[in-house]
């Protein structure tokens, strides 16, 4: 039995207060990249009651994703946007999701992100991360961008933190652990970094962002 929209919104209000629940419900976040970072960020945002998500990835669910990404074995081969939408709607049935099944480039970032309050960089490649962060800071200065760098390997979670780099740019991670050094990626650590990103986004949306 799926609860009504009002029942769910009331349950959220009980936890965080009506004002915050309403603010989150009226917010829109764009998450670019739906791997270990993006899929976990989306689930945390959906559970917190963020009302609208723009989710973007061109890829399909692969067997090698299951160690850290929020997909199921039964979803191998599906588009990540479709698979994640399915999983998110099981958690938050009234979530408004816009699927963008595209590879992100400087030509389409603006269109994908123009309606978002906050943009979450959740790519896996260093070059894509740098491209998105540079583009948003240069061309969309009114947007907040939350990015991640350094979440690979088995290093202590205590090395992963959130830094406010400038007025609207936050960076999460240990800044150094590079997957290309062959140290692997493990769910517990990737989720920790995704959680830093998700909480930073929630703090921005609720006006708690400083410090």
């Amino acid at each position: 039995m799926i609860p009504s929209k009002t029942e769910l919104q009331n349950a959220l209000s009980c936890r965080v207060g009506e004002d915050i629940a309403l603010k989150l419900n009226n917010s829109r976040v764009a998450v670019l990249g739906l791997g270990g970072l993006g899929s976990n960020v989306c689930i945390a945002l959906a559970r917190a009651g963020v009302g609208r998500l723009i989710i973007c990835d061109f890829d399909k669910v692969d067997i090698t994703n299951l160690n850290r990404q929020q997909y199921k074995a039964s979803q191998i081969g599906m588009k990540k946007t479709d698979a994640l939408s399915e999983n998110l709607l099981e958690i938050a049935p009234y979530l408004d999701i816009e699927n963008v099944d595209k590879k992100v480039s400087e030509e389409n970032i603006y269109d994908i992100c123009k309606d978002a309050d906050v943009i979450c960089e959740a790519f896996d490649k260093a070059e894509s991360k740098a491209m998105l962060v540079n583009f948003v800071l240069e061309n969309m200065p009114e947007k907040y961008i939350v990015s991640a760098s350094g979440l690979s390997g088995f290093g202590s979670m205590n090395e992963i933190r959130t830094r406010k780099m400038s007025d609207r740019f936050y960076l999460c991670g240990d800044l150094v652990s590079d997957v290309n050094d062959g140290i692997g990626l493990v769910s517990a650590r990737v989720m920790g970094c995704a959680s830093h990103e998700a909480l930073t986004i929630l703090r921005i949306l609720t006006g708690e962002e400083d410090e």
């Binding site: 270990g36 490649k125 740098a130 240069e138 990015s147 350094g150 400038s166 740019f169 290309n180």
Partner: protein, 70 residues
């Protein structure tokens, strides 16, 4: 601070690189331009302006060099 020389800070570290361009400074480092974002005094410097942006006394430069994994 007593009116003496101001220094440039790069990622928090004092460095004596006043008067040269961002592009020339980066040539003395091992940063790969494809992977970085660079801010001076909390403002992004577009990559197209690295050549013409001159580093000045007191500038605080933050260079993020992204690493892979996500």
């Amino acid at each position: 601070m007593n009116g003496g020389d101001l220094m440039v800070r790069v990622n928090g570290k004092e460095t004596d690189i006043c008067g040269i361009s961002v592009a020339d400074y980066l040539k003395t480092t091992s940063y790969d331009l494809r992977f970085i974002a660079l801010e001076i005094n909390e403002k992004i410097v577009p990559k197209s302006q690295y050549e013409e942006t001159i580093i000045e006394d007191g500038d605080r430069i933050e260079i993020v060099s992204f690493v892979g994994g996500g």
